[in-house]
Symmetry: C2
Subunit: 321 residues, 2 copies
């Protein structure tokens, strides 16, 4: 006998919601942000065949569907608090759901996020997550605060997820040993929530790298009415990436590959020492890759060998490409 929706919800998506006044099971969840808190709201939809393969590992998919939303919250400097999940499934497959919810909930618990609401329905596989976070009033990191003279920083390494995707599509051949860490970046990204919170009062602007460095830094420039100059040689690359950096596909992945979910942010020069201390405390690489200048020409210029502007192959992932 097929499971009914209510049984499914109860079995796989009812968890204690210690941070909620009322969790799953009513018309809506009730939560309390606390005094002096702004709320930060984001949503993302992942579709089979578009953002992941229909036969993707459900545990990793559960992780990623939440991670991409936590990354948006991180880029605001907020603490993620509550999530809702709407799921369309071709059939009520208990094993798939168990694995999906394990991946989702493991990441949720790691960040203290309560799953407070949901909706399941039959249809082509699709996952829509919404996350609500909280931040002290006025302290959110925004895209529109970059100023000429700011340094441009980025966390971790860039382009690894895009390299993994190039391999999966057969456009690039790497050894299995090279692929494993790249696949982990693509399938189970680590949202930089701790970094985002720590950047409050330090960064002037921030964004997460979901569409690629050039495109996302370009969003900061556009909203802040400034331009950015990045030195290619400074852009942090993983060991695998460095090994293949002579290939155009790798350089494209580094500068324009989406799905890394690192943070790009800008901060005044006076913050350099503080940011290097922060990197040590978080055990997360933070690299200064360039600077913000007054608006002019392209939003983002990348300087290559000899300080010459590089031609950028494409400026990022467009969802209607």
């Amino acid at each position: 006998m097929p499971l009914t929706e209510f049984e499914l919800i109860r079995r796989f998506f009812t968890y204690p919601s210690p941070g909620a006044v009322l969790g799953v099971g009513d018309d809506a969840a009730i939560v309390r942000a606390g005094r002096g808190r702004d709320l930060v709201i984001t949503t993302d939809m992942l579709l089979a065949g578009r953002h992941f393969r229909a036969d993707a590992d459900p545990g990793r998919l559960g992780h990623k569907a939440l991670a991409v939303n936590l990354s948006d919250i991180a880029a605001m400097g907020a603490v993620p608090r509550w999530a809702t999940l709407a799921l369309a499934l071709p059939r009520a497959d208990a094993r798939w759901l168990a694995a999906f919810s394990r991946g989702f909930m493991r990441l949720a618990r790691r960040h203290g996020v309560d799953l407070v609401g949901g909706d399941t329905t039959r249809g082509p596989l699709a996952v829509c997550v919404q996350v609500v976070g909280a931040v002290p009033v006025g302290q959110a990191l925004r895209r529109d605060g970059a100023r000429a003279g700011d340094d441009v920083w980025v966390s971790g390494t860039l382009g690894d997820a895009a390299l993994a995707l190039e391999c999966a599509r057969g456009r690039l051949r790497l050894t299995p040993r090279e692929r494993a860490p790249l696949n982990a970046r693509l399938d189970t990204p680590a949202p930089r929530v701790g970094l985002g919170v720590a950047l409050r009062g330090i960064a002037h602007s921030a964004i997460d790298v979901s569409d690629g460095l050039v495109a996302d830094l370009g969003h900061i420039c556009e909203r802040s009415k400034v331009s950015a100059v990045v030195e290619f040689a400074r852009v942090p690359a993983s060991a695998v990436m460095r090994r293949h950096l002579q290939r155009p596909a790798a350089r494209t992945a580094l500068l324009a590959g989406g799905d890394d979910y690192e943070l790009v942010f800008t901060a005044g020069r006076a913050q350099r020492a503080a940011l290097l201390r922060l990197a040590r405390r978080l055990r997360l690489k933070l690299t200064r890759i360039g600077s913000i200048v007054r608006r002019g020409g392209a939003p983002v210029t990348v300087l290559g060998a000899g300080g010459r502007p590089m031609r950028l192959p494409r400026t990022g992932f467009d969802h209607f490409d």
Copy 2:
């Protein structure tokens, strides 16, 4: 040239967000609930082929996708404040999007809701909406507050949307003049937000009728650990419904048809006069259809001719039917 995602978002989904600190255009929206407010969070996903036809009128679809979420907020007694919208579309069709956003935003403005975030992507047509509302701390209407001795009330009339669906599926024949008001109930439901807010401090429990009267009242009974007895003759029916009430399909629609988005609620007998005054003030029919009793037997019993319990054809809409 196809529109890019960013152009689409700017063109059709960027509206002033007077109630938000920061609206569409950053990683996430920033909003402020105000002191002493609980937040109420809900989400619903509508899929082409499942919840609506792929060729459905986009304006009505925009209305309905928001309305079903506002209805959940209404059932909590909260004021809807902010919405996010994730949209999967087979192609970036400007005319379709213009009509969809008109339908969505007209209803949003009517209820003072700001569209603060979104995500668009290419894929099989799917609409996922989340709404966050606010309610004074501790005053939300929940499903778990019904008490033995309560009256059971319902707003408006029931089963009209289900009758429209029966017609659309060719299982019932009605005249065009009969169908028009039923189709309006199905396509552009009016969420009972004003009623929900007014029921604070009056109702002991509430739910919206999205799965059918028997199923939804059953949820109240289950969560409140009580049972309910409903008199069939009292269940409010529209003129068209009354005309066809001899047909089993019509009786099923009245008792078990989903998609009406009326509110079912329970309240003490002392509130009868207050509720009738409220009905006059809101110009919305409120009908007392039965009472809550101590738990025993079926969660919901419907008494028909001669006070005999009716056999209920099915107990509601299951999303994995």
